[in-house]
Subunit: 245 residues, 4 copies
């Protein structure tokens, strides 16, 4: 790939509630998950990173920010219901128009992810300091650049199948948990011109977002999800291309 | 397949407005598209067919009907906006729980189909008495049982790509139109335990729903979309299957 | 589905070597894996079952048998290399023409499966009396009829990712193993008009093919893979359907 | 994407027979299709391009060339049978290991493409100076960067469905032809770590490989198919990651 003429503009969105109210979360992410991720991404070549959080005006996502975002990363958990529907609609339209979307961990239940998927996005879960092993199922995929055949997260929340999602376009990673469950932990889809990646790891009380493989995958995913420069599709009543004769 | 213990219960839903207000539609479907389809399906083995229309109470879909429906067929066009949101939510929940859904023609823009897809479902269109040729791209699929390598519809409305849908699980049919356009005319997806089929043909002023190939495909699709008898998935907080030792 | 006019004709093919030479295998399958499976399948409605083994003339698969087979089940392990190439070619042609193929366990390395897949079909493995848990990832699929959200096999050989297969059309089951690995244990593809199902369980020294869930899935898969009655596709030089005008 | 540390190494392989023996082909591609393509690709940033042809020793593909190729482009038609099987095996192994493969036009029937697909790769065809319209079905895909919603090739050979390929991972383009046929003209798959793109246009007697949209798509595809730098997968007998406890 050629270097883009301009950097990829990334917005890291975080609900940012646990880190203010729950000691175990603050201990791990004192400035919030968004800041931890933004620090890492800002140090990568060709990325221009900002953050946004739920309690800012317009959740930190006024039109000017949405228009200036190429890829949005989303983390939410206890306050999905507080995200304004009009902003979800704008997010949805931007994604169909080409903005990339990366949903992390409990973002599986966010309004925007469920809107994109069309299914319940429900799953099984358990918090038990459990070992997770993530296995590569699509070697050669750009999101897995630099990743070996598996990696281990020492302690994580369990998410288990059935994960009620549409069949992914591509299945990149499957996890096993010590309690016996499995999970499709890295999945891609497209909606309109927008590229979507769901990545499972990231419970708020574990230092998962400091682990090198996790950060590598998120960084790769940002580059993968960045929009392609092409004219938008046209719809509606159309003259023929030309009657075949 | 073994004969089901009980018949497949089919509900044919129609907006039923054009046939009341537009002479060209009434001429072709004097009792409505739903009645034309229901007549054909009722004559097939193992199907128990009812109809429902927009202007009936609860759009003809009270809870008792939804609960007693295995597969719903949907035709709508000018009044998508009049379909009540609470009924769309019930339809959506029933589909995730296993009810089959068959969307016909302009149902691409119905609330329920867009809710299932998560994309805009937009497309190009033109009404010009145009010849459509439908080509099989997945021979061996049960929905194509009895269908040759292609069939022709003498006059149809054109629908053209880009059709803004998620990548289908299976692509069964591609159409060409005299004006040069193409369209993915037979597509399947799953959402939850529900099986979904979109089938393009069916403009209200053409006798498409009397054509044998079209009726054969709809009948096959009803059998394909009928729910499988298996325990529903469980979600939420779960004890481990048993720690591995 | 309506009852077929004639039964589905199933051929259970087994290499049948371990059961003759390895005490641990003979103890579990004294008449061979093929006979154990055929006994179960023969007791199901609408199936006409025969067996075939490697050391019979033409591996038990002369043209007359291939022509009279709707679905073939395949088990092999130590003698993949002894299967004659001309018979592999005939199998391949029959599958493209619509015969269903169900590959069990170590059939992943059979000539015919690798020919259908186009990839190496390699994987990780270990024999350690290990617990396997199989999780449903596609509820509502006909092959999973009657199966709950998971089931356990008490002792099995481990197969682990990366399993080098093309992206499945449908992913039905994912396994976890006590040693931490995962595996895509139930996968479907199509090649030509033929429907293919790979199902992982079945090491020759464990009584896996007597377990009810395993037998249920194999039986469902036979019904799912049975060919659809439709004219075969035509290829080669063709006159136009008719120039569009 | 960041600029690669080293250029992408592209080998354009051509059978190179028509251009020597058929006046109509030589008139369009006097130095061969491979040279026409290589000239264009060599002018793009970050690509290092060589060519290879059938009648060179080892078809121009000795081990040293294969090892030094990141992406191979393949054009063949009348002499598929002359390609040596041992070289096909080496190509196959290299692709599973990560080399990208771009098959053009009649490469659908090449040994290597059929080996990768596992199906017959057959299709319908006709040479009649026919107009082809190619429609985008996956906006936002990197291979479609810079491409609008459709483009027209004034004169082409017709290829028609059913195209006997495995369900593509991604369907990027569908063509319509004046005679009424359609074709899946841009498709991707993966095999092992290798990324595969089939692109339909390119009959040897039409100046298709000078048309800007066609060249843009081939160039994009080279960048898309270039291998990802990650450790190769490991297979075979494995110790557990660690027993879960």
């Amino acid at each position: 790939m050629q270097p883009p003429a301009t950097p990829i503009r990334v917005t890291v969105w975080n609900e940012f509630r646990h880190e203010k109210t729950k000691e175990a979360a603050r201990a791990v992410y004192p400035d919030g998950i968004h800041v931890a991720l933004a620090r890492h991404l800002s140090a990568q070549d060709g990325l221009a990173v900002r953050t946004a959080t739920l309690d800012e005006p317009d959740h930190g996502l006024p039109d000017a920010v949405l228009e200036a975002t190429d890829v949005i990363i989303w983390w939410g958990h206890v306050a999905h219901g507080e995200v304004r529907d009009d902003i979800v609609e704008k997010l949805h339209a931007r994604i169909l128009g080409g903005m990339g979307f990366i949903g992390l961990h409990s973002a599986h239940f966010s309004k925007i992810f469920r809107r994109l998927m069309g299914s319940s996005c429900d799953l099984k879960w358990r918090v038990a300091d459990e070992r997770e092993v993530l296995w590569v199922t699509k070697p050669g995929h750009p999101i897995l650049q630099g990743i070996s055949d598996h990696f281990v997260i020492a302690q994580e929340e369990m998410y288990g199948e059935h994960f009620d999602i549409p069949e992914p376009d591509e299945l990149l990673l499957i996890s096993s948990f010590a309690g016996g469950e499995v999970f499709r932990s890295g999945c891609t889809w497209t909606r309109g011109a927008g590229r979507i990646f769901y990545f499972r790891p990231g419970h708020e009380t574990y230092p998962v977002y400091y682990q090198s493989e996790v950060l590598r995958i998120i960084t790769n995913a940002v580059r993968w999800a960045a929009p392609v420069h092409a004219p938008l599709q046209t719809y509606g009543k159309r003259a023929p291309v030309g009657w075949f004769e």
